[in-house]
Amino acid sequence: MEHWSVNEAAACIIEEEILPKANRLNIEVVRLKNGAVVLDMGIRCKGGFRAGKYFAEVGMGGLGRLSFTMIQLERCLVPGLRVFTENPGVCEMASYVAATKVPWKGDLQVISGPVRSIRGSDHFAQLVSYRDPTPQKAVAGVQTTEMPDEELAEGIAQACGISPNRLYIMAARTGCMVGAVQVCARNVEQAMPTVADRGFSMSQILEGNATTPLVSVVDDEAVAYGRVNDCLIYGQETNLTVRCADEAISAMLADIPFSKNQDVYGIPFQELFARCKNNWAYVPRDWDAPCKINFFNITTGNRFTTGRIGYETLEKAFLGDGGTL
């Protein structure tokens, strides 16, 4: 099969669809001194639904499609989104997952997007054999409140193995429409590392699609961060088409979903994160888990389901201290 370059597919979407419409997408394009191009999709700019959709589809290297849909919770009808991916191992693990860490401003900034697949140096990229070693252009995604600068571009370029003047960096904070959309679009992604941790090969996953409610777009970064993660651990539902023995699924089924954490289930993520000093290094691996997965085994025709939707927590995240007038 001809090599599909996730970076060049992503750069093509940027150059053909995003840059010509930047103004109407409510985004800004900034060229840094070292030649890297930053797309401000939600730091100083407000972005929107379409910019959020592009952030996700670019991040998936052209192997995923995002559309919006209303989702019925128990009492509320809320905005939501669905993602369909082809070849989820490449689309998610090699590309969209936020996993490569780059030094920036005395700390480490996590990078997502196709640029990770050039070297495939982080843990999740190494779970698939796909590499995109020689793209003409490369694309990174950054969830940050500060505008990417030359230092970050250099860091990404060095870590991933490409010249900064061939790099696009998409950036948005969490507390904006693009931030909410691009995180909630990590719904197929949310399932993958958890099953990989349990020895399930990424090559056995043929197709993935998922829905997530998009309950909250708010200015406060900490609240926004908590609620988008509520959308994933309490609201994401993923369908995975797999090829394997049924036993490979049933053996890990009970150990997969977030709902197995019965001692904390129902607590908003913002509170859970605070218990971990707002630092992912202290977050138990089992807390970064999918909400619900349906496996469809193409070999046997059997279906397996694990996890459950946390309606009450989602509705609380949607309403905050609001309610019906």
Partner: protein
Amino acid sequence: MNHVTDLDLENRSSWQGALDMIFALCGEAADLSFDCRMLGGDRTPTVEIRLDNPAELSLPMVTESDGASVERWKYGMVVLADERPASLPEGCVFLLRRNGAAAVTYRAFKETVRVLTELGISAEFSWSSIPLAPLCDDLSVTLKREADSWRFGAVHTLWVRCRQDETLKCSMKQMGPCGLLQVQNMATANTWITGSVDQARLLEGLKNI
């Protein structure tokens, strides 16, 4: 430059054409789709209108001329008529039958803008999900069904920035019936809701004459 798109006067009706028209009328700052919602055991079609710059939009100026309604929006004009008018205004023009699928979709979009305007608080983003009324050769029946679908079936979700929730709540309480209105205040992280989807009355409104 004059650019006329005939959606269904002399051409056959086009659902995609209706979305393309709304996209143009929003200055391309929108994400649009058709979907469906379960209503009384049936999947009822809806138009989903997600606006990235809703504050740019206001209801069009309407003039009647030569048996046609000319509706002037910021980014284009819509001409509703029963047959092609002898003369058309200059600019980006969409021609619609008054009683066609494109017109039902277009009027749902107008209802979205009406609700945004009536709230009186500038929205950062909006998402309206509006059931599409079944067509009837009798235009008055189509219009009655549209009104019922807006009043009993529409769901409007708005994102606004309002320093005080009380100001927002006060504006929402003054709104006339428009289905379910959900407004998320991005400044306070609270969502306020007024109205509801009334499935029974919606189904009553859409049933046979």
